[in-house]
Assembly symmetry: C3
Homo-oligomer: 339 residues x 3
């Protein structure tokens, strides 16, 4: 048997009053589902809610295919009044509707694909802007009436997010992570095992960590952080090289970006950026030799992806300097203690 | 017919156990209501909840005045057990009680007035400190008993805010905005159409944007951001000039404050502050000519309100420099891509 | 009568499906309880839920001891189906189980002990990682089934935090504080009366303020801020001295750390750090005399704990400088205005 498709998922979601999808929750998405599962779902329409007979037929087909976990979900779905959907992506192409977009975001957050591991072209256009509330997802246009109705009942409709992307933890909490304040992690974030995202940390979609790591800074869309690297409180990662087009920012293994610092270039392994220092692609950096003598001055973008660099601003002269081959281990250990 | 008053609103709110107002929600506030509406509401007391007969009389008067939307709200209010109130502000004077204060905050967030567009003198003294919870607004003094009661029922009373100002989105979500994390925008914020407030963005009351704009930094009380301007992640705007008294900070059109940067002076149009650089009013800035040569050194406060400035800290010498007339368009376009 | 024990508390909490504690709420913890109370609770097991007869016996014993408030809580607990526990800590030793750990965190947030005022050794190992949700505390392993069940009912299980520490305000809101966004203050934080924690502020456990103060920056674990000191927006406090082992960071009275600044050394009273400047222990600081002339250069760690210092980075030369004996009062007053 060979894998026959890119991904599959059974989802339960929310419609607005016009029957349009606002969001979909996939409890157990599959990457590269077995051929039998793909065959069982071959006739499903990713944009349309399944009716009762179609859902029962799919359940039986999944059972026949030996996909007991998926069949069990289908059986549970039969008992709900919420709209349910089956999405089979035969290939990793751009998402065409809300269920497809949400399935892809789930693949990332379930760690089935890494950041940049699935085609998200056009995702912003596919996803609607939604009010995420204590009564679930609500269409923006239907919100005022719902707010007033709640008030008249003596309740408050809590609106926690108005965005195309919901918080990840309302869909999946991957194993072995802590997320001190979940509003800071979007669905589509990829958090490796052993990742702690503190209150000031942030992780956008299609971005994340390999884990383990202590994240107290911001991981912008598309940025990937290697194992053992720490982001200090409030530090920033910029999504693309300044003036350099669409170069992807990443940070390698065992790096440390100090509190309130930031980077606009990708870093290799064991790099350190001093607290409070922002290295943009255009920063002129003075390279020091082992004796601390200036050797040359380069633009930071020329250092993109190199390892074993330590960046600091000389507190006497104001010069941004780079030392190489210095161990960042001590500073990393220190930061780990600050949780 | 001429406008006869400053503002009008029908509100439904919360009392503490002593019958004192904690907060009021106005579903459809009016700026400069028609004279007939003002006449219909002329006898209402802004501090007192309406009883049934008074509410019905007001509903009839609004109907007679042709104010069908307001009359419909009054009709809906008749069916609730919550305290309701009618607030008519004949002139834009300082708020005298909770309903008046809340009506003014609604005017800002409904975009009926811009920041500094209504008199908020004494507002802190008028508004009580409230516990905002999953059971609505609760008097701070009544909170411990409510928390214990919830626990004994096997529930948790979620206390999301302890403050004089609630989050805006529980009162109004203006058209055409995204707010990734709503706890960061206070009622009384003014978000222009096309504004996106990302997770690290913040908007205080009596402050905001003309829109469009990408807000990933903090807009302090009183600060106004012009169309097309972006605040980078974690950047700061300070409310008044250091040593300069009560000068209002604002940022003009098409400006960019880089991530983790900050300003303590107002800026004109098309200004850029480099990521990580904080310009306070007292910063000595070296002005460069078109060839990059130093021309003079001035205190940043002398540059207040000027356009077409780019601020950076020279990464070789540590000198804070200002280039003029350089287009900020490229950097702006880059930031727009980081959502 | 002499005090006979370190602390006592009656708590109501949450078990997972195996009967293991996830968290405990103590409505009225006692430091140094009267000997009679300790005697009444002497047989209680801090790790085990009380059954009905044991709870009634404890209630009677507390009544007999004259501890009417505690007896009343015990009486209320008798009516709940939730697990309840009595914790008597005879001495201030390391917490051995979840109820003991939570009682100690309550002591801090109820202001019964200051930061570092109780032994928290091994606390991370004692506390489980918990999903904090709209249905209360849930075991991480039981979360997926609960999320799916909620969805099938047409509800969303809101997961607001995945962490060993919950937010403080769901347990206690001490008198005389405002906390604009409560997710930023962990249980175990100590907020002195008159403290305002703004949206960008953060307070870890075993850390906090003496009050009053305006906190718009981050108070790391173990850090204590003196009366009248302000932390500007987004500023950082590092938990230990860089390279200096376990030296505790603190800030004295009437200090100001500017927005986006930071410190890695303890400060005495009336110190100011300019907005955007990060002072780490290894920063070389040029000391200026009253005339602004450089006197000497020292590592910042040598200045640890001193008072009346103002740190700035010279905007002409990039040198980090320290002026002494300058009043920080003006700047403090300015910051106070930014709420």
């Amino acid at each position: 048997m060979t894998d026959s498709a890119f991904a599959f998922g059974l989802g339960v979601g929310t419609h607005n009053s016009h029957g349009e999808w606002l969001e979909v929750f996939f409890p157990a998405p599959l990457l590269h589902p077995p051929a039998e599962v793909a065959a069982a779902a071959a006739d499903c329409d990713s944009g349309k809610a399944l009716d009762g007979p179609a859902l029962r037929a799919l359940k039986d087909a999944l059972d026949a295919a030996g996909a007991t976990e998926q069949a069990a979900i289908a059986a549970q779905f039969a008992a709900t009044g919420q709209p349910v959907v089956a999405v089979l992506l035969t290939a990793d192409v751009a998402p065409e509707n809300v269920p497809e977009g949400y399935l892809k975001l789930h693949l990332l957050s379930h760690r089935l694909v890494p950041p940049h591991g699935t085609n998200l072209d056009g995702l912003f256009g596919v996803l609607p802007n939604v009010a995420w509330t204590s009564e679930g997802a609500i269409d923006i246009n239907e919100l005022p009436a719902r707010q007033l109705a709640a008030r008249l009942r003596g309740e408050t409709l809590e609106v926690s997010c108005v965005d195309k992307f919901p918080k990840m933890t309302n869909y999946v909490v991957p194993k072995g992570v802590r997320i001190a304040h979940t509003a800071r992690v979007r669905l589509g974030a990829h958090l490796g095992e052993g990742t702690t995202v503190m209150h000031e940390g942030f992780v956008n979609f299609n971005a994340g960590t390999d884990g383990p790591g202590m994240i107290e800074g911001r991981i912008s869309a598309g940025v990937r952080i290697g194992a053992g690297s720490d982001l200090g409180g409030g530090c920033s990662t910029i999504g693309t090289l300044s003036g350099g087009g669409n170069i992807v920012i990443s940070i390698g293994r065992e790096c440390l970006i100090g509190a309130n610092g930031g980077i606009g270039i990708p870093l290799g392994d064991r790099c350190t950026v001093e607290a409070g220092l922002f290295i943009t692609a255009g920063t002129k950096v003075t390279m020091l030799d082992a004796d601390g003598n200036a050797v040359e001055t380069v633009k930071a973008r020329e250092l993109a992806g190199k390892s074993d660099m330590l960046f600091r601003r000389n507190s006497g002269t104001g010069t941004v300097e780079c030392l190489t081959n210095r161990s960042a281990v001590e500073l990393n250990e220190e930061l780990h203690a600050h949780n």
